[in-house]
């Protein structure tokens, strides 16, 4: 699966980092950064959680 991030929607809440720190980080302004774009099954649940808790609906999971 591929992770997509719409950075201009990001509100810097950091919720994604809390639930999936292997996939997301934040820059100095708090805006989310993707550490990985393609993820395997081991991180799928974490990223689904991040999609669900993101308060800006800025993260999507896309089937490749």
């Amino acid at each position: 699966m591929k992770v997509e991030l719409e950075a201009d929607k990001c509100v810097a809440s950091g919720q994604c980092v809390l639930v999936a720190m292997d996939v997301f980080d934040q820059d100095d302004d708090g805006i989310a950064i993707l550490l990985k774009q393609e993820i395997g099954d081991d991180l799928l649940d974490d990223v689904k959680e991040a999609v669900a808790v993101c308060p800006a609906a800025a993260i999507r999971l896309v089937e490749q």
């Binding site: 929607k9 809440s13 934040q26 100095d28 302004d29 708090g30 669900a52 609906a57 999507r60």
Partner: protein, 393 residues
């Protein structure tokens, strides 16, 4: 459980519906929303949507494909008007009755209004589009209420070239929420940008020409925005037997009655982390609580208390304000990093002998994260804040 109804198709209701499917629920899933629109995001309404920076489509919380994949029995544009617990049915405004085995109430809040017509409120996409079309250079915008919503709208109004007047009954805006020092810091930012802030004034009525104050003065306006807080949408539950008191009263699992849960702005639940019941009108809480309610409804044998560290943010001019925890009723505020005057700081809030909250402006995420952690673990004030000097008593 074969029939679950989620009432409320905004952030909390959507999060609940998605979580039910993610957790493997494959029965009938009805999602009821009183607005005719697919779920959309509200925080940008007072920011990017009002400023004209974003088009409405950008607020969609999910794509049409994402929604279709949820296989919902979607009832949009129809409000729920009644609940019968004994019969396990929800009545809708179109005359239909929807049966359920499990119910999640996420009907949100609506703006408090003044007893006058012609004033704007800001809650729905429709509200925001209507107000946006009336703002522009030279327009006189008067905002009643200098809370976060009113302050954000004031900032956008100034960016659009409006003459903005903020009317606030308290001596310092937001002091009750974030403390006097932070409230004064935010106030200065608005004054510097040319907002005409008037504190300690009481509004009597909105008139055709503007806002009439209690002492008889008329504050002239082309447009008036009333931003004086919200009321939970619970009237449809009258007579249902559910306990309602400033929200749907729930236990620590977000349960209001057997297999009936509440989430988001409308839910008043017991948060064990802070040892108090609370109702939180923040975007992040809507998603988190929607998820928690859905999980507890499905996994009744393994329920988990909902004990989050609440989080909210506010954008005003070039400032991003972020706050964690439960600031209400705090006993003390201390600057623990940076400097209020430079608008780069973290302040911590003490309630009793523990760190109950933190608020940051202009700080990197790592500086904030440790304070969230301190709140989540119930760190004592003496341990976490000892080196700091109290900013206010």
């Amino acid at each position: 459980m074969r029939r679950i109804v989620v009432v409320g198709a905004s952030a909390a209701g959507l999060a609940a519906a998605e979580t039910l499917r993610r957790e493997g629920y494959d029965g009938t899933l009805t999602l009821v929303g009183d607005e005719p629109l697919a779920p959309y995001d509200r925080p940008p309404l007072s920011k990017q949507l009002l400023s004209g920076e974003w088009r409405p489509e950008k607020l969609d919380l999910r794509t049409a494909d994402d929604l279709a994949a949820l296989d919902l029995d979607l009832r949009l544009g129809v409000a729920a008007i009644g609940l019968r617990l004994a019969e396990r049915t929800v009545r809708l405004a179109d005359g239909s009755t929807v049966p359920y085995d499990g119910l999640i109430i996420a009907t949100g809040v609506r703006p408090r209004r003044l007893p006058s017509e012609g004033a704007h409120v800001l809650r729905t996409l429709d509200d925001a589009l209507t107000l946006r079309d009336r703002l522009g250079p030279g327009r006189r915008l008067v905002i009643v209420g200098a809370g976060f919503l009113g302050a954000e709208a004031a900032a956008v109004g100034r960016q659009l070239g409006c003459e903005v007047t903020l009317l606030e009954p308290a001596p310092v805006p937001l002091a009750h929420a974030v403390g006097t020092d932070v409230g004064e810091m935010l106030t200065r930012a608005h004054l510097e940008r040319g907002v005409n802030l008037r504190c300690g004034v009481t509004v009597a009525a909105v008139t055709e020409d503007g806002v009439r104050l209690a002492d008889g003065e008329l504050v002239e306006a082309d447009e008036v925005l009333v931003a004086i807080g919200s009321m939970p949408n619970t009237e449809w539950l009258d007579g249902s037997g559910l306990s309602v008191g400033d929200g749907v009263v729930c236990d620590q699992y977000c349960e209001a009655a057997r297999n009936v849960y509440a989430a988001g702005d409308v839910a008043r639940w017991y948060n064990p982390l802070f040892g108090t019941s609370m109702r939180i009108e923040h975007r992040t809480n809507a998603a988190e609580q929607g998820m928690a309610a859905a999980r507890n409804l499905l996994n009744s044998e393994a329920r988990k208390p909902f004990s989050p560290v609440p989080y909210f943010w506010s954008d005003q001019y070039d400032m991003k304000i972020q706050a964690f925890g439960y600031l209400r009723g705090h006993d003390e505020v201390a600057v623990v990093e940076g400097d209020l005057a430079e608008r780069r700081f973290v302040v911590a809030y003490r309630t009793g002998d523990r760190v109950s909250g933190a608020l940051a402006v202009g700080m990197p995420p790592k500086a904030i994260r440790q304070w969230r952690q301190a709140i989540a673990t119930g760190a004592s004030w003496a341990e976490a804040v000892r080196p700091a000097v109290p900013a206010e008593s």
